[in-house]
């Protein structure tokens, strides 16, 4: 039986549903369950192609099923020339055609998702499209979230020990998966240097440019539409390589990490803050079916390829002989974030904006409780992985 609920009641019940508490006769609940029967079908078709096929990494090692890593020994960062020679000698294809097509579809989906959704996010949350960093068990008001998002950037820089000394601080920065340029602006201002951002979304690039100009930073930050897996830069260009919550979109993790390392200058720091799944124990080959099912639903709505673990990233960085590799699980520091986003979506402004934005954005909003569920089960981890390229 449907009831008319106030926004506050809706919010509370919506969050309780996400936490697994039973409820009946809820408006959101009805929409939620019918939505999943449609989307699961779509998810299994798009992503099944990606996970079942072998993906040959640049090193030529076939991947074990469902994992984006490999037991690479003695791999090293290929520079542009080497990559070109290698691709030519391999006869041109590192991945089979069906996988390539799925990857292209994924990239288009990502671009379209952000073309459609960036505006509404910016309207409600501002120009940082990433989690805030919170003290565990603190109570936060909505206005503190922006400060938390800024704190996330600072904590990441601190974790990676990025120098602030004028002689040693970064002089050129790349923001890989830059969104509407929140991090780019912040980093350029902090270090007083130039930063360039890349995104698959032309709408985001244009918006990022306009926002930077409005802040008087047009001379310090620039944006290009480009692919993180094929960055349009020569080798060794940047002192700081920044990837804040974009890694989860990358369909070929090894290629993604190789590109981050390639464009990093000697001595540069690479910072990856991303969504991972829990590390597998030594007896496990993959996540269990229920866990995969949950992640598949999230993948479909957010245009994510198969997830990997924090350990997978560490192994990739190790295989490229990068130094000072550090990794941490920051899930406890981001716990207040999704409930806050859900609350903001269920305000009058949130609901009307969602209705006006488009189906992709609405789908993304519907999936938010699943993110909370994933964190609660210890399946989803908010990870930071950093390292330094040798001099």
């Amino acid at each position: 039986m449907l009831q008319i609920l106030s926004t506050k009641q809706l919010t509370t019940r919506f969050i309780h549903t996400a936490s697994g508490e039973a409820s009946q006769g809820m408006i959101i609940g009805c929409i939620h369950s019918s939505f999943w029967s449609v989307s699961s079908f779509a998810a299994s078709n798009v992503l099944g192609g990606l996970t079942r096929k072998h993906i040959t990494l640049f090193t030529g090692c076939p991947l074990p099923r469902d994992r984006f890593t490999t037991s690479v020994q003695g791999a090293r960062i290929l520079n542009k020339k080497e990559m070109a020679v290698r691709q030519a000698s391999l006869g041109g294809v590192d991945v089979d055609l069906e996988t390539k097509t799925n990857v292209e579809k994924l990239k288009r989906g990502i671009a379209e998702f952000y073309d459609e959704s960036s505006g509404i996010w910016e309207d409600i949350w501002g120009d940082h499209m990433h989690h805030g960093f919170y003290d565990p068990n603190s109570t936060i008001s909505l206005s503190d979230h922006r400060a938390a998002q800024v704190r996330m950037i600072e904590e990441a820089l601190k974790f990676a020990s990025v120098p602030e000394d004028p002689m040693k601080k970064p002089k050129s920065i790349v923001d890989v998966g830059c969104g509407i340029g929140g991090s780019s602006q912040y980093l350029a201002r902090k270090y007083g240097t130039e930063c360039t951002g890349i995104t698959l979304s032309p709408v985001q690039a244009e918006r990022a440019r306009a926002l930077a100009a409005a802040q008087g930073l047009e001379n310090k930050v620039s944006f290009e539409v480009a692919d993180a897996l094929n960055q349009p830069f020569p080798d060794g260009k940047f002192d700081l390589v920044w990837s804040m919550e974009s890694g989860e979109h990358m369909p070929e993790k090894a290629k993604f990490v190789n590109e981050l390392a390639r464009v990093a200058a000697p001595g540069a720091r690479i910072i990856i803050v991303t969504w991972c799944h829990r590390n597998l124990s030594s007896s496990e080959q993959s996540l269990n079916p229920d866990e995969n099912k949950l992640l598949d639903k999230i993948c479909d709505a957010y245009y994510l390829p198969t997830w990997c673990s924090t350990d997978d990233y560490v192994k990739l960085l190790q295989s490229l002989s990068l130094q000072d590799i550090k990794a941490a699980d920051w899930s406890e520091y981001v716990a207040p974030f999704w409930p806050a986003v859900i609350r903001s979506a269920l305000t009058w402004k949130g609901i009307t904006s969602l209705i006006l934005s488009g189906w992709k954005t609405i789908k993304g909003a519907m999936v938010m409780p699943l993110m909370m569920k994933g964190y609660k089960k210890g399946l989803i981890k908010f990870a930071i992985i950093t390292c330094r390229k040798p001099e």
Binding site: K80, K81, A84, Q87, A88, G92, K100, T101, E104, K171, S172, G192, T193, E194, T196, I198, L200, P202, A205, E206, R209, E218, N219, S222, F223, E224, V225, A226, D227, L229, N230, Q231, P232, F233, P234, K237
Partner: protein, 122 residues
Amino acid sequence: MRLLTHNMLSSNIKGVTNGFPLRIEVEKVVEKSVDFNPDFLKNMFAKIEYKALVEASRIMGYAELPDHAEPSMLESDDFLRKFHHALMELHLEEGTLVCPETGRRFPVNKGVPNMLLHEDEV
């Protein structure tokens, strides 16, 4: 797109060994005034490919930058101002960047270059 940005972009199409610098085809150039910052410029001088900057600035309609430059010239205010103008104040709003090896064209719209490669180029 400022020439500082142009100076860091290259074509990474499969098989291309030297995709830098990208050739510029101009449709619309806009000159934007930017605060003069000598320290920033001195830092940038070490990082950029000067020859590519000179060629690019000529195509954008600015011919004042000397063909060659030494770090010692950074002490000259006159040179610094020309360097500043070329690097920071000339914007390609609309145009195309062309791969020097393959001739592949990358559009620049509203000052944003689109460097996405097609499936068969990666």
